[in-house]
Symmetry: C2
DNA sequence: CTGAAAGCGCTAACAT
DNA sequence: ATGTTAGCGCTTTCAG
């Protein structure tokens, strides 16, 4: 493939002049410019990004890290949305998107140190992940789309207000007359899941409801976990009349689990999800859930990173909590009166 | 950040020696090696990919092109699967994955000519897309996960055998007694959709069934299209007793459309999908559909590209047609006898 | 307006 | 076993 040298030789001008033409520098005569442009067209020359990157020290590439098994990423349609938001913003700014899926033993910071990216956006980092640690104190531009530790990370982050979202759901259930509410939570090593439980407890406190110790169970954000946990939780004599789930897949599983033991949703038990993935709208019954705007989350994260990378902005970390929204569909209904419940 | 020079200066050895240590070259004394390694650790040095790439002329990066609107990619969970397969294989070979989403005015070949990638994997290219054209004749390593033209592309491709998949569905419906079968097809500028229609007509011919001209309608692979088209198609007096849809979202929409006009699935009309996305299993009724293995498609495409890029293999294009599989769930049932149908 | 030379970080070829 | 030199493709001084 043609290089800048080939063009300069053929055009009978210096390398620098070709460079000037390519970069639309003003200081070239019109005659030279059009001549060089013609040679460029003839040779089908394209400036190599490699040389440019070496000189500038910038890769024009942003790394997106999703350190989870393929199955996990696949099951969580929410990543789709976030990626879409990120992709749009990076594209606007002419930046490439390097996708780093799955786990390996390489610290994420190495992507930067090896000059493969100018900065990082990190998705769904578990609290016990070790590969992100040296990012926290460093000067490496990075934005988390989650909080990795409960007490404030010293980094930029954009996160959904999951705690408040769960509070909205509990308020909704209480307004329907539910007093005994259980939770099928997500893995304890995700702050998302911890935040959800925090919101759950806070809302119960606010309504002065007691929480049976067996009514918060931990799963792994999957259909199977939802199905299994709902069956055990609903099997007890004085069972919850509503199940709050940490994500939509868990909720779909919980609906099935209820069905397995002969309980109908929402007539016998209400079930709620979290995320509002596309699935939530189309299953039976359509899911009452909390919508977190993954697309917007991706956009904001990318915008922050771009401003850091391109503007080399310093200053205190930008930290944004995005609102969540209750979406009421048909998986929730008024609680049965206590009289209708099985007698203890 | 530390460069190879800093290390060599501090260690009191030549640049080349550091290079040898970094690359585990054998011809270094054990003493020097461990000394240099210690300096590397002290300086937290990482070899820059930029220098390496410039020298080797290889970027160690593969571009994945999905030239569709965000909404489209988002609605088609199938892309998720393909990406996962691609990601796994590239990761195995130490290659980076550059995601090129959405459309722009840049020919995809420029990603290669600008030395941003060593090769390309292209997903869901419409037949009227112009940006991929110069790839077809060129020496640029690329693998399509679709056939861009019906008569054979002169490129590597991996595709699902959609025509046969649709034939399986029709066979299934015919075995249930259906004689009047309609199709809600996808956009005509996707070979996938064309292949599906081809399989559909072939199967009808095989069973000596006639096709009413109004019984093949074209949509855009969406819930809304499925809902709208099914309503019009099912409104006619002598309506089809089964609808074959080009993708699962269309099928979900078709179920809703049937419901809109008071027809139950599968009692009054059978509906089938295509893809077997995660949604298909969980909606009501669970969808009879054709499973195409997106994950495997991604893996195969990446494996072919890797063998071309790393082995610079020549020879005739590798072209693989992956089998599709009928998945029978609950959206199909025996056809009503003609007597039960509305009288013309 | 145009060009020559230096150098970005690294490796390959050729010494020593 | 180790070092020297040249050069990958480009931009950036600094001169003409």
């Amino acid at each position: 493939m043609a290089t800048i040298k080939d063009v300069s030789a053929r055009a009978g001008v210096s390398i620098k002049t070709v460079s000037r033409v390519v970069n639309n520098s003003a200081e070239v005569s019109e005659a030279t410019r059009s001549h060089v442009q013609q040679i460029i067209a003839e040779l089908n020359y394209r400036p190599s990004a490699l040389g440019k990157r070496l000189v500038s020290g910038r890769t024009n590439t942003v790394g997106v890290v999703i350190p989870h098994t393929a199955a996990y990423v696949f099951a969580h349609l929410y990543f789709n949305e976030v990626l879409r938001g990120i992709g749009e913003v990076l594209h606007q700014h002419g930046l490439d998107l390097l996708l780093h899926l799955g786990r390996s033993d390489m610290a994420y910071s190495d992507l930067y140190r090896q000059h493969r990216v100018d900065g990082l956006i990190l998705l769904a980092i578990p609290t016990d992940d070790t590969l992100h640690r040296d990012l926290l104190g460093s000067e490496i531009p990075c934005v988390f789309t989650c909080r990795v530790v409960e007490d404030n990370n010293p980094t930029h982050w954009v996160d959904s207000d999951a705690a408040t979202g769960i509070e909205l759901v509990v308020d909704h259930l209480v307004s329907l007359g539910h007093r005994r509410i259980g939770m099928l939570a997500g893995p304890a090593n995700l702050t998302l899941a911890r935040e959800q439980v925090r919101g759950f407890r806070r809302a119960l406190d606010r309504h002065e409801l007691t929480l049976d110790p067996g009514w918060v169970e931990t799963g792994d954000f999957s259909f199977d976990a939802g199905r299994r946990l709902s069956k055990t939780m609903l099997a007890s004599r004085l069972r919850p009349t509503a199940l709050v789930c940490g994500d939509d897949m868990t909720a779909v599983g919980a609906v099935r689990g209820a069905d397995d033991i002969g309980l109908r949703v929402p007539a016998d038990v209400s079930v709620t999800g979290f995320d509002d993935v596309i699935l939530a709208r189309y299953i039976t019954p359509p899911l009452t859930t909390v919508r977190q705007n993954g697309y917007e989350k991706g956009r904001r994260a990318a915008e922050i990173l771009v401003s850091v990378v391109l503007g080399s902005e310093r200053g205190s970390p930008r930290q944004e909590l995005l609102p969540t929204e209750l979406v009421v569909r048909e998986s929730t209904a008024a609680a049965m009166t206590d009289g209708a419940l099985p007698i203890r």
